[in-house]
Symmetry: C2
Subunit: 130 residues, 2 copies
DNA sequence: CAACGATATGATGAATTTATTCATTCATAA
DNA sequence: TTATGAATGAATAAATTCATCATATCGTTG
């Protein structure tokens, strides 16, 4: 029932669950705003993202349940911040990874086009497959 | 339609998509094996995980589509390895984060138990005149 | 070539997640 | 108190993902 009671479960399940918490564009967007600006009000998130209030709120609830963010009330407004700095690290590394992936797949595309007729491929790591 | 054609989409969508690729226990497990042992055959993954062949294969396909692993055929067997070292980094940081989260929530639980009696709960009835 | 072992793919219903609508709570102001 | 703005929460249909079964493909061996 409760997938958020992380204790006493195989680590790979808990880890997969963490990634589930990150696996939505809205939530990534929110986390990125929080990573760069820290301490942001729901109102600001709303205008930043252009989402419907309840939709955003639902995703904020997911982030809270996953212990990725912390909410704090300050006079009729609610402010969010990242619960742990590693969340920002995760986002940073995933960006690095994506840059590498995009570069690489772009290269592959290019070479595929280049040898559209014949010769031996010159991939980034192809060590003389002759 | 094709969520794997990463080009020309907002980065937060691509990033969320990456996390989706990581968001399953079987896939995390496979990636962790590859992170520690690199270059592992499907047969080994099968015996390691005890999964049904087609089930594992399906998850391997997901990992391939997300460009997280690379498959290489060597004489009737297929070997997998991580496509990028950052994938291992991602796993490592997520473990760190989870350790922190678990520590923290455990502490919170403890203190909650400690003051389980004294706190005055808010209620609709006004019988709480001390 | 045919048969076999090793992987991969397709198709299906079950389970989960998402987007939306409506209703509710909380805090301040009148 | 009632009204109002800010944010959350429930309920539900649509979309997605998962697990399982059956079938297909790729290499090797006979």
């Amino acid at each position: 029932m409760d997938q958020f009671t992380n204790a006493h479960r195989p680590l790979y399940e808990v880890k997969a669950n963490l990634f589930k918490g990150l696996a939505h564009p809205v939530r990534v967007r929110v986390l990125e705003v929080l990573a760069s600006a820290d301490h942001v009000s729901v109102a600001d998130l709303l205008s930043d993202t252009g989402l419907e209030a309840s939709h955003l709120s639902q995703h904020l609830a997911v982030l809270r349940r996953h212990n990725l963010v912390v909410a704090e009330r300050r006079a009729s407004q609610v402010f969010y911040r990242l619960a742990y700095p590693q969340v920002a690290d995760l986002l940073a590394i995933s960006r690095q990874l994506l840059v590498d992936i995009l570069q690489n797949t772009q290269q592959q595309l290019d070479s595929t086009i280049n040898l559209a007729d014949a010769v031996a491929p010159r991939g980034p790591d192809s060590t003389s497959t002759s």
